[in-house]
């Protein structure tokens, strides 16, 4: 058994953006799929709870979840070409949630689709909605996926690395668009990313994941100003800053294999500040004000650098 995700706790309010940060294999995507009950065959939630607008999601049947997914919780994935069906028109794909969840038909449905496409800045939607995905650019496709996500009027959008395949100027446009939509609709966003720049630009709160656990979470400014977990510090130091030639802070090694996690704290083999107990005992979560928390023995022992 692989424990892909362990010790993950976070919450977010309406209109808030949570950044879920981590490297590949840290459990970001598994966490998101657990929320919406889309874990692959063979994977299951063995403990814990997911509460959404007061309802417990982990005990719901797939049938009940289907009424929530696409309507109240929407997901935007990394590769828009994989989320769009190449054989159906844009209209058909954007219309689907409104057709099933809101029972819209005919002219009302067409108007709704055009409205959604306009909301994601697709030019001349009445024409473009007859196109197929391959006729669109990468940035446009990702905006179409955004339109599908918004179609059901969701309260929570989970965006899993939505801009990774986009060019920088197109990425900036997309991030601006998500911000605008959030301001207009008050939707809550979970932004999954490995890019701390996106977190700095988009998020109110951050949860940093390493080897399946949330090792630190805090409001975004607090995390950037006073990171408490050595892994968070390493991540912040590893990113080049524009206009600075200072050597990057590189931690040795690579993220561990989830099938054979190190004992104790999973980060201890790479940690420059590891204590003897880090190798044997799993650190407990230490909470501080403003909903910030860290899972590190240095923090527990009051040894963490400020």
């Amino acid at each position: 058994m692989v424990r892909a995700v362990d010790h993950v706790s976070f919450g977010l309010d309406e209109g808030e953006t949570l950044g879920l940060v981590g490297e590949s294999g840290s459990g970001k995507t598994t966490t998101c799929l657990s929320i919406v009950g889309l874990l692959p065959r063979g994977a299951r939630i063995v403990g814990g709870s997911v509460r959404f607008e007061g309802e417990e999601l982990t005990r719901k049947s797939q049938r009940e979840l289907r009424r929530i997914r696409g309507r109240r919780i929407a997901v935007i994935l990394q590769d828009p070409m994989a989320s769009l069906n190449p054989l159906f028109t844009i209209f058909r794909q954007v219309a689907e949630p409104a057709f099933f969840h809101q029972q819209l038909r005919g002219r009302t449905l067409r108007a709704r689709v055009q409205h959604l496409l306009r909301a994601v800045r697709i030019p001349s939607p009445e024409w473009r909605m007859r196109d197929y995905p391959h006729q669109m650019s990468g940035g446009m496709r990702q905006r179409i996926v955004g339109a599908i996500a918004l179609a059901g009027g969701p309260r929570l959008v989970i965006a899993d690395e939505p801009t990774t395949n986009l060019d920088v100027t197109i990425q900036a446009q997309y991030l601006d668009l998500l911000k605008d939509i959030q301001r207009e609709t008050g939707v809550a966003l979970i932004f999954v990313t490995h890019n701390l720049g996106i977190v700095a630009r988009m998020c109110d709160r951050v949860a940093v994941m390493y080897a399946g656990s949330v090792v630190e979470q805090a409001p975004v400014r607090e995390l950037f100003n006073t990171p408490r977990h050595p892994y968070t510090r390493a991540l912040l130091g590893a990113v080049p800053k524009l206009g600075s030639k200072d050597p990057l802070y590189a931690i040795a090694g690579q993220p561990p294999n989830l099938a054979s996690l190190p004992t104790g704290c999973a980060f201890h083999p790479r940690c420059p500040e590891a204590l003897p107990r880090c190798a044997s005992e799993t650190p407990v979560e230490v909470r501080a004000g403003h909903g910030s928390a860290a899972r590190c023995w240095l923090v527990s022992n009051g040894l963490a650098r400020p």
Binding site: E23, F224, V239, P240, L248, A250
Partner: protein, 321 residues
């Protein structure tokens, strides 16, 4: 100043596309359309631009994977189109490449030692023991233990594979390495290791880099000079610090505006440019950037601006200056 290792002059590469079967006109994609730059010994030139701007075609021209439509590439002052035989082999030895994806650039059926030794077997007459010693030496240079030579690529993580690719690029007497997005596929903490390693190798070996990338902060960090490319042309070039301090071309400024902040309190970007890169099949008239340019003037759609010296150093191709 020392003479450049590599110098591109008026380099063009046009690809005809579309069949002429029914008498229709065939179109031409001007992937690289008049590019000039030089790379000095021990220098890193960053080449930055969005997808489709011609970065990769430029690297293919340098690596002799494509033949230029016009213009020259000079290596140590000699046009590489005139090289043949032993001299051509010497060029191929001196100029190496590291690709973005270390999962597809290393043969899964070859052991690491064989992968790194292959250039030596092609280019030198070294004996097995000498090759082995050279492989061990470059593995050590890139921070890997010599005993990994007997393993296969699948036994390594992305960062380690990229080290293997760098070792292969260094094993001949390499003068210039084309680094085509070498860290884009790597995790953040591993990226820093590779960038530091590349910088360290350059300091100790004096090798030159052409660093191709789209992430401004990374390119600016590793490069001494930066050339900004848009639709087959270089629109601005300057020393890295000067470019970061004062980007002049509106496209460069748009790239800076689109760059992500390194702290939540960083001042917000001035504004994001609208629109997308136009198709290379239907290039805009005049300045190629004018349809997206927030500062476009009437002249911009008529006359193509030439590269002119910019303040301090470098050059910029824009009617504003």
């Amino acid at each position: 100043m020392a003479s450049p290792v590599l110098e591109l002059r008026g380099l063009r590469k046009h690809f005809p596309v579309g069949a002429r079967l029914l008498g229709g006109r065939s179109a031409v994609v001007k992937a690289v359309d008049g590019v000039d730059f030089a790379i000095q010994p021990g220098e890193t030139l960053g080449l930055i631009g969005e997808s489709g701007c011609g970065k990769t075609t430029t690297s293919k021209l340098i690596l002799l994977q494509e033949v230029p439509t016009a213009g020259t590439i000079a290596f140590d002052g000699r046009d590489i189109a005139t090289l043949a035989g032993a001299e051509l082999m010497a060029y191929r030895r001196a100029v190496q490449v590291v690709f973005q994806d270390p999962f597809s650039s290393l043969s899964p059926r070859m052991r690491v030692g064989e992968i790194i030794a292959e250039p030596l077997e092609i280019h030198t007459r070294l004996g097995a023991a000498a090759i082995r010693a050279r492989v061990d030496a470059v593995l050590e240079l890139v921070g890997l233990a010599p005993d990994v030579a007997s393993l296969f690529p699948h036994e390594f993580s992305g960062g380690q594979r990229q080290r293997i690719a760098i070792a292969r690029a260094l094993v001949t007497d390499t003068r210039l390495i084309v680094l085509d997005e070498p860290v884009s596929a790597l995790d953040v903490s591993v990226r820093a290791q590779i960038i530091n390693q590349l910088e360290h190798l350059q300091r100790s070996l004096g090798v030159s880099y052409l660093f191709i990338g789209h992430d401004l902060a990374t390119v600016a960090h590793i490069s001494h000079r930066i050339a900004v490319m848009y639709l087959g042309k270089i629109v601005e070039t300057a020393e890295s610090e000067a470019l970061c301090a004062r980007p002049m071309h509106p496209y460069t400024r748009a790239l800076f505006a689109a760059a992500l902040p390194s702290h939540p309190d960083d001042p917000p970007a001035e504004r994001t440019i609208a629109g997308e890169v136009p198709s290379a099949l239907a290039l805009p008239s005049g300045c190629r950037f004018h349809p997206r340019c927030p500062l476009a003037m009437p002249v911009c759609s008529e006359v193509e601006p030439a590269l002119r010296l910019r303040d301090g150093n470098g050059a910029v191709a824009c009617h504003l200056y």
